[in-house]
């Protein structure tokens, strides 16, 4: 005797968080059943495998029907089809849009295109995340990207408003959108030590300081693109390394104030010009899209790696960058104070965040 049809429909939609997670993780019904079996649920409840199978099928069907709505969470909130208490709706949305650290590190900064989607099976085999789950996560990224790409106003707020995510998750998505838009390279071997959180932090700093929305929140408030005018202006900073006197003066000012405070004084003194050149050169090149993409590689190669090889501590880096930034203000010949601050405050925050093992 076989059950052709076997359904359970509650007036309040029944949602089993455990099964939801299994579904999100991309397991098939039979895999989910065997995973649930292993959790010892039968012993706890005295149920049989048949019951578990039917229960899992039911939940999968429900999730399948809900998925359409989860693509536009505001629909889930307003729809009449499924009666779900608000707290559960929030849980459904939050979990649906949650992503795996391993996955996001693979995709971060890549173009969210069909090509990338095709490569997801590689990502899947590399990370051990099921292809189904990879696809869901990728589609989520893409969906959010598409919706907020052209939108004005705060990126985080836009995401929150359209996808009803928690503040934290919305911030993460803002970072993902920002990275995807500017196509920052994050996958190189040298960058592997950086976590998604590091990048997300950097993204937030850049959005706050370097985008169009950062300067003027009224006109053309765009959080996604870097402020082109600003990038253009950054060329002006070149004077700091081009003008020999200015460079020497800057160095002496920094050295004087750091003497006795920094543990790697000699190394710092010896490397000052290299480091300063690296930072200023990066600034002046950011107008080129390619250099924007290599932003993090440059930071690592030209600043973090030299410092690390000289065994700078995080505190040393902080002291140096602080002094390096403030000292420039006392240079009378240097007139781009505001521009300098806008650039350096973000660079400093990023470097400090990234300066770890």
């Amino acid at each position: 005797m076989t059950n052709d049809l076997d359904i359970f429909v509650g007036n309040t939609t029944l949602i089993d968080e455990e099964v939801y997670q299994l579904w999100l993780d991309g397991y098939s019904v039979s895999d989910a059943v065997s995973l649930r079996l292993r959790s010892g649920i039968l012993e706890q409840t005295g149920a049989t495998v048949d019951v578990l199978q039917s229960d899992t099928m039911d939940h999968y069907r429900t999730f399948h029907m809900l998925e359409r709505l989860l693509h536009t969470p505001s629909k889930l909130i307003h729809q009449l089809h499924f009666q779900i208490p608000p707290s559960r709706q929030a849980m459904l949305i939050e979990r649906y849009y949650a992503f795996d650290e391993a996955f996001v590190r693979e995709v971060l900064g890549k173009k969210l295109s069909k090509g990338t989607k095709k490569d997801l099976d590689d990502v899947s085999s590399k990370t051990g995340i099921t292809l189904k789950s990879c696809r869901r996560q990728f589609d989520n990224f893409k969906r959010v990207f598409k919706v907020v790409e052209e939108m004005r106003g705060s990126l985080v707020e836009n995401i929150q408003q359209h996808f009803l995510l928690s503040d934290r998750l919305a911030r993460d998505y803002a970072a993902i959108v920002f990275f995807a838009n500017s196509r920052f390279e994050t996958g190189k071997k040298k960058l592997q030590f950086l976590t998604f959180e590091d990048f997300a932090y950097c993204a937030e700093q850049m959005i706050q300081n370097w985008t169009l929305g950062a300067v003027d929140s009224n006109v053309d408030d765009m959080d996604v693109d870097l402020d082109k005018e600003f990038l253009q202006e950054l060329k002006e900073l070149k004077v700091l390394i081009a003008d020999k006197d200015l460079l020497d003066l800057h160095k002496s000012l920094v050295c004087t104030s750091l003497r006795g405070k920094i543990s790697v004084y000699n190394e710092m003194e010896a490397n000052f010009k290299n480091l300063s050149r690296a930072l200023v050169n990066m600034a002046s090149k950011l107008i080129h899209t390619k250099d924007v993409r290599d932003f993090f590689i440059d930071l690592v190669e030209k600043f973090i790696e030299p410092c690390k090889s000289d065994k700078w501590t995080l505190n040393d880096v902080r002291l140096f960058l602080t002094q390096y930034t403030t000292s420039a203000h006392t240079l009378d010949a240097f007139r781009h104070q505001a521009l300098w601050d806008r650039y350096m405050s973000t660079i400093k925050s990023c470097l400090l965040k990234m300066y770890h093992d």
């Binding site: 005797m1 076989t2 059950n3 052709d4 049809l5 076997d6 359904i7 359970f8 429909v9 509650g10 007036n11 309040t12 939609t13 029944l14 949602i15 089993d16 968080e17 455990e18 409840t45 005295g46 149920a47 049989t48 048949d50 019951v51 578990l52 039917s54 229960d55 099928m57 039911d58 069907r61 429900t62 399948h64 029907m65 629909k75 909130i77 307003h78 729809q79 009449l80 089809h81 499924f82 009666q83 208490p85 608000p86 707290s87 559960r88 709706q89 929030a90 949305i93 009803l164």
Partner: protein
Amino acid sequence: MPGKLKVKIVAGRHLPVMDRASDLTDAFVEVKFGNTTFKTDVYPKSLNPQWNSEWFKFEVDDEDLQDEPLQITVLDHDTYSANDAIGKVYIDIDPLLYSEAATVISGWFPIYDTIHGIRGEINVVVKVDLFNDLNRFRQSSCGVKFFCTTSIPKCYRAVVIHGFVEELVVNEDPEYQWIDRIRTPRASNEARQRLISLMSGELQRKIGLKVLEMRGNAVVGYLQCFDLEGESGLVVRAIGTVCTLDKISNTAFLPACNSPSKEMKEIPFNEDPNPNTHSSGPSTPLKNQTYSFSPSKSYSRQSSSSDTDLSLTPKTGMGSGSAGKEGGPFKALLRQQTQTALEQREFPFFTLTAFPPGFLVHVGGVVSARSVKLLDRIHNPDEPETRDAWWAEIRQEIKSHAKALGCHAVVGYSESTSICEEVCILSASGTAAVLNPRFLQDGTMEGCLEQRLEETSPPGCGFCHIPYDELNMPFPAHLIYCYNCRKQKVPDVLFTTIDLPAEAMVIGKGCLIQARLCRLKKKAQAEANATSISNLLPFMEYEVHTQLMNKLKLKGMNALFGLRIQITVGENMLMGLASATGVYLTALPTPGGIQIAGKTPNDGAYEQHVSHMQKKINDTIAKNKELYEINPPEIPEEIIGSPFPEPRQRSRLLRSQSESSDEVMELDLSHGKKDAFVLEIDDTDAMEDVHSLLTDVPPPPGFYSCNTEIMPGINNWTSDIQMFTSVRVSRLSNINLTNQTLNKNFNDLCENLLKSLYFKLRSMIPCCLCHVNFTVALPEDEVIQVTVTAVAITFDKHQALQTSRVPVEKTLQRASTDNEEQLQFPLELCSDPLVSQPFSPAKEVLENASSHTGVPAAQRATSVDYSSFADRCNSWIELIKLKAQTIRRGSNKTTASLDKASPLAEGHLRHRSVPSCTNSTVSVVKMTPLSFIPGAKITKYLGIINMFFIRETTSLREEGGVSGFLHAFIAEVFAMVRAHVAALGGNAVVSYIMKQCVFMENPNKNQAQCLINVSGDAVIVVRESELEMVPVQPSTAVSQPASAGDVTT
């Protein structure tokens, strides 16, 4: 022109994309009522159109208002080709036609298409202006209220209960008309939906006319059904109970009959919907806890009492004073009395299952009748004489069965059909009863209830007393003096179709008992088929009955309530499914065990086997008694003083040729052991039967189930409810079709379904599945479809803790409380919860305390204000109760002062839901098959919900197969019901029932079709905790507990 219907189309949202090129839709709306149609402007290129139309006004007869549904069609405008329909909304405007219900229908409705399902939503406002109609010969019956609820609705009072009303209308089924060959499935489905909507409107109007004729103003227990007779047509029929209802206005009746007092009275007997009435408890004077039925009491005060019905006096005298022999003449007198009240009625039937206190005097037993008919084409739809005649015939039979049981009325009455091809089984069943004439006539309401109740026999057992004359019994039966009052005779088991009466005294908890049965039948045509079915029916009924009886004994119980026997006919088999809730009534004798008798006593091995089985059965009975907490006190035989210490063995069902199913007991004095129920194992079939008895697994710990409104023995419900529908279709392929394998398969199907439910709802533990309603259909050869609708209600866990502790502590408890139990036994169930319920927080505290300190749980007592107890010592029963309370109090003094804060705090926590998505505009609508929402009070009935939907697909696989298709459809039906209720301003549906779920599939063609018919009462409920301070706010009043779908890990 007695009515003006006004409709405004506000907006749409989430519309489907109709234009692939632009990914948008140019939507407009057609509003149709009768033959008039209005259109909105086209709102171009939007999935969320804002029409904001003018008011479309329809000037119509109120007859049309009642019959016609309002049809709203959303279309996509297409310049070059025909406009595409997106979907429709049918709105039944009936609720707007009576003054007390809804005044406006306004809200978002799902746009429904029979092929695509829900496609977006539309916001509509509907109003009706009614003008007074002075025409005496009018055809409309606006103003008559309809309720699905099978008891007197909560905020009403029954002035008169007039009686039975029935009507049926027939038509040709559009699906079987010639035109169906050339039109699209969508057009055909819509024609059918519209026709049925129209027919049910017409039916309701006709019933309403009959109601007015009977001088009533409402129909309670309204049950409308469709018979899809295929080629021969479509029958819509309805039955109900006509009443004159009075709205209980809260202000006027507050001191006497406001809910607290009434509810307090009801709670102990488990009828009351609102277990958490404690909110109003402390402020209520205790004298309201007397046995008076407050509403009527206050009524009698109000109205000028003119003619007190003197005839009541002998009856009450009979109740308390006279012993069995004297009973006869009094009964005759009583019968005569009520006869007059009922005799002008053709059928003294009542579809109610719960009654105002004092209404039900005696219960005789279940009466049922079935008849097998061959369907023929209905030639003249306006004169549906044959169908009328069929039902009249059956009702006549029921009436005569009731008469044979010494009863003049039938309560808990229902009718059903099962159709397969051209054969139709008509069934009717009910419970024969003797009623109090007071409610049945106008002007007799002053029967001074208070006084009467003091005089009657203890109300907890009166209804069990036999209504028939003992010396002139209609059938031989085993009678014994009532275990409660010892004055009247009672039968040893009682089967009824009604809910457990409020005043019934019960020991322990109840449980769902089912008898399941399949019988093969030869495929045959027409007459031959009908004959073979008629021949099988009596045997099936007999076996169903035997199974029920055996299972009841196995549970150690002695009465069945809510009995519903469904016989379903298929091509090559008949299915019988009986569901009921077993309980132990204190008034009835303790059931004897089941004794197995072998046929071949000389065979040693066989004997051993039999004794092994016997042991197993005995163990099961003992286990069940423990599980359901059935521990009746032992009463020495002498006290009972039974005049017939007769040995009695077999209860057997005798059946007349006309398939009557009165419970008939045969007295057989020749056999052995007293009170034991002997099962003879004389063949393998019998062996199977015994085995199957033992295969029923009890629900897992923390679960209870019943098919009545509420579970005896549980009364602290929380507001955490989950109504659900579960459907299973099973194919009996590759099975050697014999009766045994069929039985086993069917049994497994039902048991597995139940197991699945227990598993799914495990997060609600401790919980009870209430109103479990199974329906069986045989849509094709070798295919069984079982549909279950029920509600799971969580009850307070402190009590559950207690029950699970009982086995452990039993011995301990025995020793310490033995004496008390002896004293309190008959009163325990009524006295304890009576006072404890209103003060439930205190009780919770105590229970909590006792669970902490290890004080035996059964000693749970209450911290009641005893000072006012003197007020209520006005009757015998009150005195005894007081005594019981005092004893209890003594034993619990120590625990009463313990910490009070924790359980309350916890309770609050549980109810707090997290509104994290703040912009949700969808209000929660609760649904339940019960007549109440636990923890909430119904403040207004908004009208009846009666909806019929068809869903069809030609892409079955793409929609997730049959399961995906039906899952989505049922969810859609729920959604549409909720939307209609919300638009009426309601926040709950009570007495919800899925009357029909006809599912057909054709996997080869990738097609499936399903018809669903649901009904219920739309209501506004207010959470009890909010009742005192907050005015009615439907959208926020009920917040769905967040834990509804939680998983316990």
